[in-house]
């Protein structure tokens, strides 16, 4: 009788579970197509490292708690499988595994205690020392209590079984034996009765837990590992190229217009809050909170998918129809929508994507929502209209006459590749380097270095155009698309193979974004070039003019392109071998200067200014010089140093300037 009841409960629970799983798969299928099945080996490797190995989880100390919980669970999966089958077929046992079975049971026993400890710790953390970036939710406590009671029921059950001598691997289950000590003297009958009670508690909690997952943030138990498998192969994912055909919708205004991996992302969030902890917008009291954005994406998806399925019951595993009606808008309008303000707050710094333990790709989602606002609605902060028009008409953000682009080179005798000069490298100066009076000093410094090292180089002069970085990050993909195509065509026309850039934004745009447009240039950032020139002995920086140098990692150099050591090597060479000082947040954890993602051209009205937050951090390192390798960072720090009234004691310099002043 008992077995029959269990059989029915079990079948019901599994039917419900698989129905939900199917529903989740169908929901992911609503998204647009994208190939994430390439490079299977490296995907598998990543899945083992980050999914099973939890490499990102344990980057924070408390992550070890999760690590243990996770591995406890992995061990218990098999044991619970045996438990359920045994409930239906009492004769079933994994004992056929031989000695392995004893090892498994030994481990499961220990791990259950470990898990129990971890649960207690996790509850205590949430109650007594909860970090600000973790929300207090009933959901979390419920799950922790379920897991805890599962472990208690397990020990209760096995201890009784041990006393009743029904535990095949009992000898090896040390914790169970310890618990069983308390049961000495109980009679067989009460032992048996308690065993059944624990058994049922264990069974019910287990089946309930399994079915509760899809309704909670613990959905990530099911989705996190696949999400690690399908992670982007680029360091920081960018938006896909669009086809500008009539009748299409550009950008994303409905959740089902995301690609399927984005939808899986929404389902994989663990609500750990790590993205919020590092986000420059969240850190300076802006509306944007990447964790919240992902959560809004998830509830928006679940609400809207219901109506899509209701209108299309038959064809479950297909993308959503183009005209699918949505109950809740994705952008603005409800608590299940992402606010417009948040969308414009992002600097695309990539800090969130760097720390997310399950590889959620936040920035491309934000940029694609911007695309909708810009390209479909022409709704954007008004200060951007000048930028958009200047970039399109005069190919620079300020709208300066293109004929002034090469003015900086007027007296420098710089070779022009447009006049047939054969040069190994094209120095792609970039708009800031060509027009901004401060950045022009860096351009001139770099010129000096190139000449001193005898590099064969040239420029495009007035023919150079804007790379389009800001346009792309701000969602003006249509104009970016044109700029990218025109630039690639021009670079190919002059037979350019190797390009030096000074601006990290030009760098990543030419190197990574243009790949989508068929470009394949060898793009080198000046930090790479200078460090290799120093290593090769082509230039020998000597003096030590910069004093104590603190270094800033630009988002688009570091997180986007893994250039951390090169700028440091350069400074080292100019400081008599001394490594530069580091800020509290450096390298992968570097904090944005506030200018990326097109924010350079926008007002920053809410909260604290990002550049101030960062400049104050730099000043805490008591530097004589703040070293940067990006024209935007240069502007931001110079403003910050002025605001902090430190301009007379602290200089902001590009690494090229530091080098140029230390070579004769």
């Amino acid at each position: 009788m008992e077995r029959l009841i269990f059989l029915i409960v079990c079948l019901g629970a599994f039917a419900f579970f698989f129905k939900n799983i199917f529903r989740l798969v169908a929901t992911i299928c609503l998204g647009r197509a994208e190939n994430r099945f390439d490079n299977l080996w490296s995907r598998c490797a990543g899945m083992f490292a980050y999914g099973f190995g939890q490499l990102r989880v344990i980057q924070k100390k408390f992550g070890y708690n999760h690590y243990l919980l996770f591995w406890g669970f992995m061990t218990l999966v098999l044991v619970n499988f045996e438990f359920l089958l045994k409930g239906i077929f009492p004769a079933f046992s994994l004992a056929f595994m031989g000695p392995l079975y004893y090892i498994l049971m030994f481990a499961a026993d220990i791990m259950s205690l470990v898990v129990l400890g971890c649960v207690v710790l996790a509850i205590a953390r949430r109650l007594f020392f909860r970090p600000y970036f973790i929300d207090q939710t009933a959901d979390a406590f419920l799950i922790l209590c379920l897991v805890g009671s599962l472990m208690i029921a397990f020990f209760g059950m096995s201890a009784c079984e041990y006393r009743l001598d029904e535990l095949a691997a009992g000898t090896y289950m040390l914790v169970t034996r310890g618990v069983a000590l308390f049961l000495r003297g109980s009679d067989t009958e009460s032992l048996h009765a308690s065993m059944r009670v624990f058994w049922w508690i264990h069974a019910i909690v287990l089946l309930f837990f399994m079915n509760y997952l899809p309704y909670s943030k613990h959905l990530h138990v099911l989705t996190a590992i696949p999400n690690c498998f399908f992670r982007s192969k680029h360091m920081v994912a960018t938006v896909p190229r669009l086809q500008f055909k009539k009748g299409e919708e550009f950008g994303i205004s409905k959740v089902v217009q995301f690609r399927w991996k984005d939808l899986l992302d929404f389902m994989s969030c663990t609500e750990c809050g790590r993205c919020q902890e590092v986000c420059p917008a969240s850190n300076t009291q802006k509306t944007l909170n990447p964790k919240k954005m992902v959560h809004q994406g998830k509830v928006n998806l679940f609400t809207n998918s219901k109506s899509v399925f209701a209108n299309r019951p038959a064809d479950m595993l297909a993308p959503a129809p183009k005209d699918a009606a949505m109950n809740v808008p994705l952008i603005n309008g409800s608590d299940k929508s992402v606010s417009k303000k948040a969308i414009w707050d992002c600097t695309t710094c990539g800090a969130c994507m760097q720390v997310c333990p399950v590889f959620i790709e936040h920035a491309p989602k934000i940029v694609q929502m911007r695309q909708h606002l810009v390209m479909e609605k022409a709704e954007f902060p008004e200060e951007l209209i000048a930028l958009f028009e200047n970039s399109e008409q005069r190919s620079n953000p300020w709208g300066i006459a293109p004929s002034d682009r090469a003015k900086w080179a007027a007296d420098l005798n710089v070779p022009l590749v447009t006049q047939g000069v054969q040069a190994e490298y094209l120095f792609y100066v970039g708009c800031a380097g060509a027009f901004d009076s401060r950045a022009r000093q860096v351009t001139t410094a770099l010129t000096k270095i190139l000449n001193a090292a005898g590099v064969s180089w040239g420029i495009l002069g007035n023919e150079e155009k804007c790379c389009g970085d800001s346009m792309r990050r701000l969602g003006n993909e249509y104009v970016f698309d044109k700029m990218a195509q025109a630039n690639i065509e021009q670079l190919k026309k002059y037979g350019i193979k190797k390009i030096i850039t000074y601006c990290p934004h030009c760098y990543t745009t030419l190197k990574n974004d243009y790949k989508q447009f068929g470009a394949d240039f060898e793009v080198i950032h000046h930090s790479e070039l200078i460090s290799s020139l120093i290593a090769a002995g082509k230039i020998n920086p000597s003096s030590d003019s910069a004093g104590r140098v603190v270094i800033h990692d630009s988002c688009y150099l570091g997180r986007y392109n893994n250039l951390y050591d090169q700028p440091r090597d350069v400074i080292k060479a100019c400081s008599g071998g001394r490594a530069p000082a580091e800020m509290e947040r450096c390298r992968e954890k570097s904090f944005c200067c506030g200018a990326g993602g097109g924010r350079m051209w926008m007002e920053e009205l809410d909260g604290k200014r990002i550049y101030l937050e960062r400049t104050q951090e730099a000043l805490r390192a008591a530097p004589d010089t703040i070293a940067v390798a990006c024209p935007y960072c240069l502007t931001m720090y110079e403003d910050g140093v002025k605001d902090e009234k430190a301009a007379d004691r602290v200089k902001v310099k590009d690494i090229a300037e530091i080098v140029a002043s230390s070579i004769s």
Partner: protein, 270 residues
């Protein structure tokens, strides 16, 4: 309601320089843009469309490549685009230009009565501000120049109330339609075209009207119809005036010196 908006393709003048020898504009490689004042005229026309469901026709006179400025007007919502293009129209001054535009709009008026003709206040290449009024004269309708705000429109009584920006004051006038208005830049902020708008504009057929349709006397149009003659183009040289500077405590001294001079010449009084 039918609105006709006039647009002109002009060289991006900030990029134009003057050849010191020949005294002509060096236009080589200088991109063409929509005359900035006209972008406000187009925007205002589209606002009439948004508000009153007006039908908007954009008209331009110029070489075949002036089509691009019409497409731009279409990309933000203009319904019909007409390019007046003929070799015979070439070399026109403001008089001959108004003749051609005026006649073309009269023709449009026959097809569908025109209520408002919108022009930019002036163009940035000629800066004469004469073509708008010239059109009004030829169509024999009221002209409202220097408009910086449309206060209200009464569609039943067919009247419009606008504000003009004059030297030291504003003037609010109400008149009967039809009217010709030239607009100031302050009247609005032109919208940014959406991508569907741009793609639509790429496909739209721009009608080309030549003199074969307009049948104007060749003596009244183009170069022969233009009494204006250009003798010399030059950047005005500043002969008078000076810059008085001083930094730090010297600043006050510079101001004092400046006032002394102004007092001296009776420009200001104590």
């Amino acid at each position: 309601m039918h609105i006709v908006v006039c647009v002109k393709m002009v060289p991006d003048t900030t990029q134009v320089s003057i050849d010191p020898v020949t005294n002509t504009l060096i236009r080589d490689g200088v991109p063409f843009i929509t005359n900035p004042y006209d972008t406000n005229a187009v925007e205002e026309a589209i606002r009439f469309k948004d508000k009153y469901g007006a039908f908007v026709t954009a008209v331009s006179m110029g070489p075949p490549n002036a089509e691009s400025v019409l497409r731009k007007a279409v990309s933000i919502g203009t319904d019909r685009a007409i390019l007046l293009s003929d070799r015979a129209f070439g070399g026109a001054d403001t008089l001959a230009t108004s003749t051609v535009l005026g006649l073309a709009i009269k023709k449009l008026n026959e097809e569908q009565p025109v209520d408002i003709v919108l022009c930019g206040k002036q163009t940035i290449d000629g800066d004469t501000a004469q073509v708008g009024p010239g059109i009004a004269r030829r169509m024999n309708i009221t002209q409202l120049t220097l408009v910086d705000e449309v206060v209200s429109v009464n569609t039943e009584k067919k009247t419009i109330r606008i504000r003009r920006k004059l030297e030291n004051y504003h003037e609010i006038i109400e008149v009967k339609l039809p009217v010709m208005m030239t607009v100031e830049r302050e009247i609005n902020t032109p919208r940014y075209p959406t991508v569907p708008g741009r793609l639509h504009a790429d496909d739209v057929r721009v009608e080309i009207w030549s003199n074969a349709q307009l049948k104007l006397d060749p003596a009244t149009i183009g170069l022969p119809g233009s009494p204006t003659q250009v003798r010399r183009i030059f950047a005005p040289e500043r002969e008078k005036g000076e810059i008085m500077m001083g930094e730090g405590p010297d600043r006050t001294k510079a101001v004092e010196a400046c006032f002394a001079k102004l007092l001296d010449r009776d420009i200001v009084h104590v």
